[in-house]
Amino acid sequence: MNKREDVKKTYKLYIGGKFPRTESGRYFKWTDPKNSTVVNMCRGSRKDFRNAVVSARSAFSGWRSKTAYNRSQILYRIGEMLEGRRGQFMDELILQGASKKEAENEINQSIDRLIYYAGWADKYQQVFSRVNPVASSYFNFSYPEPTGVVSAIAPDEPSLIGLVSIVAPIIAGGNTVVVLASEAKPLCSITFAEVLHTSDVPGGVVNILTGYRSELLEHFSSHMDVNAIVYCGNVKEEIKFVQENAALNVKRPIVYTDENWLDKKVQDPYRILNTLEIKTTWHPVGI
């Protein structure tokens, strides 16, 4: 009996709701810890990032003006889709070096985190909005709005829940995002893009690149049409570099160091607030 050969998956980028190869044509070899599998990952370029920002910017007005209820349902849908594809993530996480138990835990937590932020998508506004008692004949209220396009450097590991933990609050808040996946364990990030793709997330709301952090950090932090950057990691030089570049257009730099991404303590609505702006409106009260 002939042995059937596997059909191997090509890992591409996820930009504007499509799965293009990198425009640069470059790749980097990713090998699993056991040296059993070699994958050619796209080595995303500055131009890929630029294209992703263009997609994110054009998706922004549609995404922010969706009803909160709708955004909430879409986030919930991502959780549902992830649940449905556990097998695929199990395989990849294990291939990336996790034990079966670890992989299972990470997937469970990732799904739960999505559901957690899905629930917040139509509630944080109430927690962070207020009517301000001004001492004049005005009705004055403040409410949060998304800050715009966010670039994000996902933690190296854990790579799935790390990605989920930063993307979910960003998009729950009505922002769009371009995220750089874990360089060390990139497989499940692209598979996560497939989940997004089948979850009613409009194209361009989440864009995922793979590539070298050292190469792309500059562009993620300096692009003038990016309103905030989320950096996960604890490399001091990188943090300084990101924060310096953020000054170019007064980007909001948000830095998460040494987070235990598998802990429920890293989830709260203040993480949504980090990429929100408070708008205050005044209106006279009279006839």
């Binding site: 001492a135 403040s142 924060q243 310096e244 007064v250 709260d268 205050t280």
Partner: protein, 489 residues
């Protein structure tokens, strides 16, 4: 029309006699020292710089200039006060100190108003009716937060950051000091404040009040100097937080300087706000809003409504009414109670405004200026508007920080939203319409932190203020104003 003639020789050329605010009860020290650790002390090098009255160019006082050593002294006083006293104090007691400051300011309000006007050039009407009342209100508002922080951030505990370095501008000297100091103290931080070089006097009067209020030494330290002093403060390793209000350029510099240090910061930067008048607006009130939007405080306002957008169908009416209204603005002695527009804060600022006006003319804009007479001594600029300009004119893009309005017309809602957002800034915006639904749509679509609908340039301690995009980050005022001064754990 037939007229009824009345026997009367009264001529109708009634103008207002001078009504200067009396200054004889005001004491300005000829020499102003640094306020460090609860005491007024000279700077290490005993160097002084002059602060003048921009309305007559006369010297008001010599002000001690702080260098690195002085900054360090102030920071270490603040650190000690933080560690030993302020962070350990029962929050309710902390609040009482802040209330006390608020009350003392109310008691000495007129004195503050007059000195603010003399040192900065703003009309006494504004310093008396707007700046100083808001200052005491700000302290009063935040005093009450001191022992209620656990209700401000659900699910989290708010911990103070430590020592805050605060750098404030010259346009609202004492008000900005209050915006900075009040929330910092309420949340348990101690402070080193640096007022602007051209307007140090009211902050130093505030130091007197802080002494009078028996605040523990070192909780608030106030030092003076120019950009160098500010830089020393920003760079000081023992500062936990920088709060800055000023230009976007300096804000960016601060971001770069503190990058990688772990210092927190909030920035309140420039603006180029759109003020949008729809055809269904209450036109006379809108005209008044335009006036307040651009000529308040000589236009030295980061949130000034410096880009006016008028719907074409009412453009002629609005612009002609605007010109008429500009004619009634009284420009002159800031201490006169009837003055609407006072002196430009400094020669440097006046030169900058003039440069932009020249640029506007060179770029082909049509200028209109009110026919007011400007005094000979001092720094003055007539209320000015430009028509025939577009988004690609530099006077439309760049912050002038003076009484210069750029007027554009528009046809549709979408068009004006796009133009309003066509700027790197996002501090404020104005929208005028009698139609509620349109107000909500447009105010939501403008990417800016403060939206004045059917009004402009309103401020209140309870109302958060701060920008989107390059206009800064963080909010001052209201509950949001606590956030920049706490760690949530």
């Amino acid at each position: 029309m037939e007229t009824t003639t009345i026997k009367s020789d009264l001529k109708t050329d009634w103008s207002y006699s001078p009504a200067p605010e009396s200054t004889d009860h005001i004491r300005i020290n000829q020499q102003v020292d640094l306020f460090i650790n609860g005491e007024f002390i000279p700077s290490e090098k005993e160097k002084y710089f002059e602060t003048i009255n921009p309305a007559n160019e006369k010297k008001l006082a010599d002000v001690a200039e702080a260098d690195k050593t002085d900054v360090s002294k102030a920071v270490s006083a603040a650190r000690k006060a933080y560690e030993n006293v302020w962070s350990k104090m029962d929050p309710a007691e902390r609040g009482k100190y802040i209330y006390r400051i608020a009350r003392l300011i109310q008691e000495r309000a007129r004195e503050f108003a007059i000195i603010e006007t003399m040192d900065g050039g703003k009309p006494i009407r504004e310093s008396r009716d707007i700046d100083i009342p808001l200052v005491s209100a700000h302290f009063f508002y935040y005093a009450g937060w001191a022992d209620k922080l656990e209700y401000a951030f659900p699910g989290k505990q708010a911990k103070p950051l430590g020592v805050a370095g605060q750098i404030i501008p010259w346009n609202f000297p004492l008000l900005m000091a209050a915006w900075k100091i009040a929330p910092a103290l309420a949340t348990g931080n101690t402070v080193v404040l640096k007022p602007a070089e051209t307007t140090p006097l009211t902050a130093m009067k505030l130091a007197e009040i802080i002494q009078e209020a028996d605040l523990p030494p070192g909780v608030v330290n106030i030092i003076n100097g120019n950009g160098k002093t500010g830089r020393a403060l920003v760079e000081h390793p023992d500062i936990d937080k920088i709060a800055f209000t000023g230009s976007t350029d300096v804000g960016k510099l601060i971001m770069k300087t503190v990058a990688g240090t772990g210092k927190k910061y909030t920035l309140e930067l420039g603006g180029k706000a759109a003020n949008i008048i729809f055809e269904d607006a209450a036109i006379d009130q809108a005209v008044e809003g335009i006036i307040n939007g651009i000529f308040f405080n000589q236009g030295h306002v980061c949130c000034a409504g410096s880009r006016l957008f008028v719907q074409e169908s009412v453009a002629d009416t609005v612009i002609s009414k605007l010109k008429d209204r500009m004619e009634t603005l009284i420009v002159g002695d800031p201490l006169d109670k009837n003055t609407d527009i006072g002196a430009i804060n400094s020669k440097m600022q006046l030169d900058k405004i003039k440069m932009y006006v020249d640029m506007g003319l060179n770029e082909g804009g049509t200028i209109y200026q009110s026919s007011c007479k400007l005094p000979e001594k001092g720094y003055w600029h007539a209320p000015t508007l430009f028509t025939d300009v577009s988004q690609s004119h530099r006077i439309v893009q760049e912050e002038i920080f003076g009484p210069v309005l750029a007027v554009q017309t528009f046809r549709t809602v979408d068009e004006v939203i796009t133009k309003a957002n066509n700027t790197p800034y996002g501090l404020s915006g104005g929208v005028w319409s009698d139609k509620g639904a349109k107000i909500f749509k447009v105010s939501k679509a403008i990417r800016a932190g403060v939206l004045w609908a059917n009004t402009f340039n309103k401020f209140d301690p309870a109302s958060p203020f701060g920008g989107y995009k390059e206009s800064g980050m963080g909010r001052e005022g209201g509950l949001e104003g606590l956030m920049p001064y706490v760690n949530l754990v």
